[in-house]
Amino acid sequence: MNKQASVETPPLSHARDLTRPGFYVKLVLMALVNAFGLYGIFASWAQEQWGILGFLVVTLIIADYVYFSKRAIPAKYLFPGLVFLAVYQLYVMGMTGWVAFTNYGDGHNDTKKAAITQILATSEVEGDVSYPLTVVERDGELGFAVVQDGQPLFGTADEPLAPLDGATVDGDKVTAVDGATVLQLNDIVQRQDAVLQLRVPMSDEPEDGSLRTRNGSTATQSLPALHYDEAADTLTNTEGVVYKADDKVGNYVAENGDVLKPGWRVGVGLDNFKYLFTDSRVSGYFLGSLGWTFAFAILSVLTTFALGLVLAVIFNDPRVKGRVVYRALFILPYAFPGFLAALVWKGMLNRQFGFINQTLLGGAEIGWLTDGNLAKLSILMVNLWLGFPYMFLICTGALQAIPAELTEAGIMDGAGPIKRFFNVTLPMLMVSVAPLLIASFAFNFNNFSLIYMLTGGGPNYPGAPFTVGETDILISMVYAISFESQKQYGLASALSILIFVVVGIISWLGFRQTRKLEEIM
């Protein structure tokens, strides 16, 4: 408590005063941050992840500056949150924007270099050489021993075939090797994965191919089926067909249209968007889903708001005793975690065994979740159950905030209860509730877990190019495109961009509404 001193000199931050624990806390934290950052820098260097490397270097320098400089005090408080915001919100949004204009996805997962390596490694043709094989383990490493023109040869995955000393040859087969173990059939069976995967190069030239075995007793020669010509950027197969790199589609394509897989990521411009809107195989499903998304969000808001409002008005009556208990019970569906509610309803709505059909409807087999239109109805009903308590709560709050004088004035002017409600209460209520309705719309527009858990987007359309169902809203369609069936990240991201646009417009409307409201109030 050295007050006197600090009044005269500007206060020293305790994180800077060597005699206070604050300094050491800061030192330890910053040491950890630097250790983490440096580790990441070396790791990304080793992995050749230049983007991550650059980001880490810049962030680390800023962090050290911010926390060791006397200035930049606000930055000390903003920095941690901003780093997370930058990586996990801004960057991923930007990345969505980038991926939307590429063909990223199954078959186009990586760079061109990786694609070439993969193509060469997976394309093989059988050569015409074959030998009786002996599988040998030397120094803990598996290798193949064969006899060529009476000369025993040995090689492993890393060493090409080379003459072998100290081998006992019986006819055309090696039977024993000095200082190494010959694997018997039992051993080979036990380690068959390793044996079957082993490729022993014939020589230093990749063109000569390699030895492999399919049965453990015979080795056959595998030749690379394709030859890569770096200068011309072409791949040629054994029959002389030339595959040219096509950077528009990200594949090696032959003149007759044959395509080598995998390809690589390339920008495809607006193709993903064009595909969604104009390709007749998809646009029907897409536009259907778009319409249903809007219908679902609007109807959800309207039904929950209507029911919540009705209940709020009815029970905003001091003559009704026990309102507190009613209110606590009405709020239960809201308090129950949403994802669990969706799953419970899914069980209750089951066609054959569900509670609704079996107990309430006496054994009817109504396909609540398996028929397209009924599934949509069920989704709305479940969302009504989930959502009306929230509307009930906020409407109750808003109703209680409306001054009683207004209602009294209405009575004095001779307005009946219905007229009073529509001309006085509702407009007043909308002032405070409208932004929440817009927020609720935006929330339901992306209510992935309800749809995914209740129907999974089904019933699915047969024959669609990707898994899409009648109750899929846009975001569940994004999920289906990117993680179910074939993964098409590019297309999924394009769809996400469209959702971003819609959500942006809705929020902007909501924002304007709130500002307008502030002017009113």
Partner: protein
Amino acid sequence: MTTSVSTGTPKRSAGQASLAPAHRRPKGWLWRWCKEVGWKHLFALVFIVYCILPLLYVLSASVNPRGTLTGSNQLFQSVTGEHYSRLMQTGFPRWMAHSLYVSTATAVGTVLMAAAAAYAFSRFRFKGRRGGLTFLLIIQMFPQMLAFVAIFLLLLSLKDVFPQIGLGQHLGLIAVYLGGALGANTFLMYGFFNTIPKEIDEAAKIDGASHAQIFWGIIMRLVSPILAVVGLLSFVGTYGEFILARVVLQHQDQYTLAVGLYVWASDERNAPWSLFAAGAVLAAIPVILLFMFLQKYIVSGLTAGGVKG
């Protein structure tokens, strides 16, 4: 009050009213009471059934000795605790622990980062302050989960550099959740921070307190109600979050409750329905308790726009 609640029927309340003969009732008051108030009790009863039927159903299914969906259709036919004890031998306790760990870590991180940011915006005047506030306002319009495809791809490449925060790791998931911390909560806190008079920190400054001391020692104590609300909302939101957890956590050993219970319930053929029901009951308890506590804040509009996930 409580008697009329327990039955809610006009008959009983009428009897109760007749106990007070001091007021003379005008003719036909019972009819009028039914018309104006009584039907509301009936209405309430109907809605209470609608509200709690699914909850009763899941509770009943969780104690039903027959473990299947069909067997669960007669409510509370017989009662057994066997599913709850069997639950403890499954992955459920681990999922619960993961959910609590991820949600708690996210809640604490969110509160700290959002409070620090709100403090900076509320107490310092610096270049880019207005711009920063506007930027956060715009950012908060776009829920982070819309970019889940890119989040998946990002964590996929992070996995090579930082395996601990890459795909399939709880820390990675927490970091993703924390990315949404500033956007969603800074404004809520900013408004509340502004209500703390500046004179308090000025007085402390004159007494020689540093900015850190003012933040930790004074402001954070004065704003503790909003810290609690933001923390609890963040906890509840993370606890029920599904899509990001589904995308990031790929292995059954790592699931959170939302993902694990989804997998159980969506297994149509041999769904362990009673196990799911028992798990759902246990999983719902913390959230229901928190919500009962948070109810008054929701009504007061403090959490305006906080639609629960």
